[in-house]
Structure formats: C-alpha cells, structure tokens
C-alpha cells in the first residue's frame, strides 16, 4: 500500500514538473516573441543581440531580475508585501492542472474542470489587490483599486460565456467539451459558430482579466507609473510577470479549447488524410495564433478609458451574455446544435 501511494505521489509530482517547467520556459519565449512581434510592427528589429535572433534575451532578463536587490518600501506591510506575488503566481500555475493538451493528456481530468478554472482565476485578483495595498504607495493603491473593479466585472461575463459552452457541451469537463465539438462539418462543428458573440465576449473578457492592453489600466504606465507593482523589484517583480504571462498563455489555450475545437482538426470529417486527424499539433497551432493575436492587440490599440472599460463590461457584455444563454438553451433544446458526431 505504502509503495503504491508513494509511486502515485512521485508520478504526479513528475507530471506537475512536466507541465510547469515547459510553461515557465514558454513564458520566457513568449516574452521574446512579444518583443520581436511588436518590434516588427513598429518597424524595429526587436531583441537581436543575445544569442541567435536574440533568443536568449529573455533568459538574460530573467537572470538580471533574479540577482537584483529586492527593495521594501518604508512602512510597507512586510508580510503581505511578500505574500502578494506568491498569491498571484500560485493560482496562475495551479490552474494548469485541468488544461488538456490532447485527448486524455491532462494532469487531472476532473469532472468539475470548468469550476476549478473559475475558482483559480478568481483567486488571482488577491495578489494584485494586496500588492497595491501592502506597498504603502498611492500609485500602487490606485492600480489595485482599478484592477479589483475590472477583474470582478469581467469575471461575470467570462463566467456567462462559459455557461453558454456548458449548455451546448453538457459537461464541465474540458476533454468532454472538446469532444463535443467533433463532427463531420470541419470547423463549422466547433462552438464558435453557434456562440459567436460569446466567443468574442470570452476573448475580450480574457484580455481584460489578464490586465493586458488595451485594458491595462491596472498598470497604466502613462498615468500611474506601473500600477500595483510599482514598488516591486527583482524576483518579486519577476513573479508578477510570470503570473501575467502564464495567464496569457492560459487564455490562449482556453479560447481554442472552449470555442475552436481544441485538438480537433479544422478539416475533420472532410477526408483529407492526416489533415483531418485530430492531434496536439492543431491545439499548438491554435494556441500560437491566439497568443500572437494578444500581442497584435497590444501593438495596435490605445488604452481604453477606465469608465469605458466598466461600461463595456456591465452595459454591453453582460446583456449580450444573458441573451445568448437563452439562445444557447434554445439551440440545445431543439437540437439545432448536436454534440459529438
């Protein structure tokens, strides 16, 4: 009994490392890719000095951050000041337990996967609020206030977009959600078509949840310097950075899994040989496209005004979401959208 339990424990630990280590490396490469893409969009070169094509730039930056001094502001609440980065990075990593990478390739194939996702993403806001409060700085507090209001508002729309997916898929399990999008009509069997407005609501809310441009008022360099993490330096700052980029990659995984068929081929059922077969490479391709589109948004759009963000969330997205839950229910009840084959 003892050995088998220890074996399961060790295996699970190995699987966790198998997800977490590539994730952290992916974050580093994503930062590099972001700087490259935005550089090209600005007609610049982007990082190109460290390593071939500047590939090692991100690692150089990480090393720099880790050996920098960690500064504590005067009269800051020491305990909370150091707890805040942990509170933002732990949920950002824990949520990867339920993200499937291929059919059956998932750490925990939990029945309540979507609920676990909601629970973990709703915890991320604590890190930001506490960082803003414990820093004993006005800029940081302003950033934390904005971020708290924004993240709570957009969580509502995000949850409702998920509800629409659940209604159609009939399950809270991510693998089941992807398999529910299988069919013979190629990419037109995926949920983006019946849930088109919710797909946009989910994606835009996701961008707002991760505090990315054009919704990055929590940082807002031109108004409040760097918002909630203005007082953080060195490795404490690196943790916030890691959490933000891990959440961006998470959004790039979830949008394809929920709306774009996950690892299913866009040509499924069209008998095009290997092109019609499902596989992790399709998910990888979709994730790459979504992740790059986040960078595209950053390079293209100016920052939203704070009251406009609130208006968009509460007065535009939530009414659309409520209406579309009814539409999804009708689609499912009358069998207009069928799941599986």
């Amino acid at each position: 009994m003892m050995t088998s339990d220890a074996l399961i424990f060790g295996l699970t630990l190995g699987k966790i490392l198998l997800i977490a280590v590539p994730l952290i490396i992916a974050v580093a490469m994503y930062v590099w890719w972001e700087r490259k893409v935005i550089g090209w969009m600005h007609v610049r070169m982007g990082p190109n000095k460290v390593g071939p094509w500047g590939l090692l730039q991100a690692f150089a930056d990480v090393t720099k951050l880790l050996i920098k001094e960690v500064i504590i502001p005067t009269n800051a609440n020491r305990f909370l000041y150091f707890t805040a980065p942990l509170l933002s990075v732990i949920p950002a990593l824990a949520v990867w337990a339920i993200v499937p990478f291929d059919n059956g390739v998932v750490l925990s194939n939990a029945n309540a996967g979507v609920l676990f996702l909601l629970a973990m993403t709703s915890l991320g806001v604590y890190g930001i609020i506490l960082a803003g409060w414990a820093s004993n700085s006005r800029y940081a507090l302003l950033g934390a206030m904005r971020s708290a209001a924004q993240m709570i508002s957009y969580e509502v729309c995000m949850g409702m977009a998920l509800v629409c997916v659940l209604v159609l898929a009939g399950s809270l399990n991510f693998t089941a959600i992807v398999n529910a999008q299988a069919g013979t009509k190629g990419l037109f069997d995926w949920f983006w078509l019946p849930l088109l407005p919710m797909f946009f609501v989910y994606y835009i809310s996701g961008v707002a949840e991760t505090n990315r441009l054009p919704f990055d008022v929590a940082e807002g360099e031109s108004e409040i310097v760097a918002g909630f993490h203005v007082e953080y330096s060195g490795s404490a700052f690196a943790l916030f950075f890691l959490a933000e980029y891990a959440n961006m990659i998470l959004l790039s995984f979830l949008a394809p899994i929920l709306f774009m068929g996950g690892w299913l081929s866009p040509f499924q059922g069209w008998h095009l040989g290997w092109l019609s077969d499902p596989g992790w490479w399709w998910l990888g391709l979709k994730v790459f496209i979504f992740a790059t589109s986040l960078l595209w948004l950053r390079a293209t759009f100016p920052r939203y005004r704070y009251d406009q963000i609130m208006r968009l969330g509460w007065k535009v997205f939530i009414p659309i979401s409520i209406a579309w839950i009814f539409v999804a229910g009708i689609l499912r009840y009358f069998g207009i959208v069928t799941i599986g084959h």
Binding site: L80, N111, L118, L123, M145, E155
Partner: protein, 214 residues
C-alpha cells in the same frame, strides 16, 4: 500510510487551518489581516468539502465567496480609515457575550449533526460519478420553483441596496457614453492632401545673446 489515513491527515490539517484562521479573524489587530484570515477560513472549508467529495459546493464556495464577496470586503476595508484603538477596547468587555454565543451555537450544531456524525462513513454516491450532474438536474427539474424564487429574492435585495444607497444629485456632471462611442474620426479630423513645397531658405536667426563666460 494508507488512503484513509491520508484523508484523515488532510482533514485534520485543513480543519486546524480553518480553526486557526477563524480565530485570527477575531484576534488580529489589523482589519485587513482579519479579512485575509476570513478568506483563508473559507478556502480551508472549501478544501474540507472537496475531501467530503462535495466538489461542486467546495468550488462554488471559492468562486462566490473567496473570488467575489471577499474581494469586495477587502476592497472596502482597505479604503476605511479607522482608528483601531477604540475598537480594541471593547474586546475584553464583550468577550463573555461572544463566548456565550459561541457555546450556544456549538451546542445547537452538535444537536443537529450529532457527535456520532464523525464516525459515519459516506455511503456510495447515489448520483454515480459526478454529483454536479445530479445537483444540476435536481435544481432545474424538481426544485425549479424554489430555485427561481431564491434568485428573485437575491435580485430584489440587489435592487433594494442600490435604491437605498442611490442619491441623485442635481448638479452632477456625467458623460454621455453612447454619444462618445458614436463619434467618427471623420467628424473630428480633416485630412488634407498638399503638394510638397520647396522650402525657402530660412531667415538668418538672430544672434543669440552672448553667455557671460565662466
């Protein structure tokens, strides 16, 4: 260590954390620390529910209370500028009342659940694998009317809270967001195409005043 012992150990750890955090809510000097301890209490209780295989309740507790309600609590408490000393003074005075209330609650809870409940093992799940499916089906078929009434009561509460706190000021300035969103660039900017003109030689700049030499 077999499976049951592991579960028992987890239960003891989570229960101890929940109790300790609940005590800290009352005893902490800083109100922000109190709120955070309450968050930890909720979270530990959610873990206990997960141990009891009530995954929907546990995760819903985290989503609703930890993720939304407590964030607003924290938000409000952070904004409060309260003097803590007068609040501390009443602590000893009200302690007997608090203990009495706690003892009564404990007796009531033991009366309802019974001390024996600790030994009862959970039977096989009647819903099969997932109790979420079972819960959803029960709520939306057998208990649809009570469910909708509860939702209606919550909505009434929400509207009432807004109506109580809303104070319409006559001189308040506000922006018309719809009009702002409807603005088109063409109404604000006029782009003019102009032929390139050859620059004429600029007039010689006036001689700058001589700086006094240091």
């Amino acid at each position: 260590m077999n499976h049951a012992t592991l579960q028992m150990a987890c239960f003891v750890v989570f229960a101890a954390v929940a109790l300790g955090a609940a005590l800290t809510v009352v005893l902490a000097k800083n109100t922000v620390h109190s709120v955070l301890s309450l968050v930890l209490t909720f979270f530990s209780v959610a873990c206990l529910w997960l141990l009891a295989q009530a995954e929907f309740l546990g995760l819903a507790l985290v989503v609703v209370y930890v993720g939304a309600v407590m964030v607003l609590f924290l938000f409000v408490v952070m904004m409060l500028d309260i003097d803590l000393e007068p609040m501390r003074e009443g602590f000893i005075r009200y302690l007997p009342v608090g203990i009495a209330a706690a003892v009564i609650m404990l007796v009531e809870m033991l009366g309802i659940i019974g001390i024996k409940a600790f030994d009862i093992q959970a039977g096989p799940n009647p819903a099969g694998e997932s109790n979420i499916e079972w819960l959803g089906e029960a709520l939306f078929t057998h208990f649809l009317l009570p469910f909708e009434i509860a939702a209606l009561i919550l909505t009434v509460g929400l509207v009432a809270a807004v109506a109580l706190a809303l104070r319409v000021r006559t001189f308040s300035k506000h922006q018309n967001a719809a009009a702002q969103s409807a603005v088109r660039a063409g109404e604000r900017i006029r782009l003019v195409k102009m032929a390139a003109v050859v620059a004429v030689a600029p007039a010689p700049a006036p001689e700058p005043a001589k700086e006094p030499q240091a």
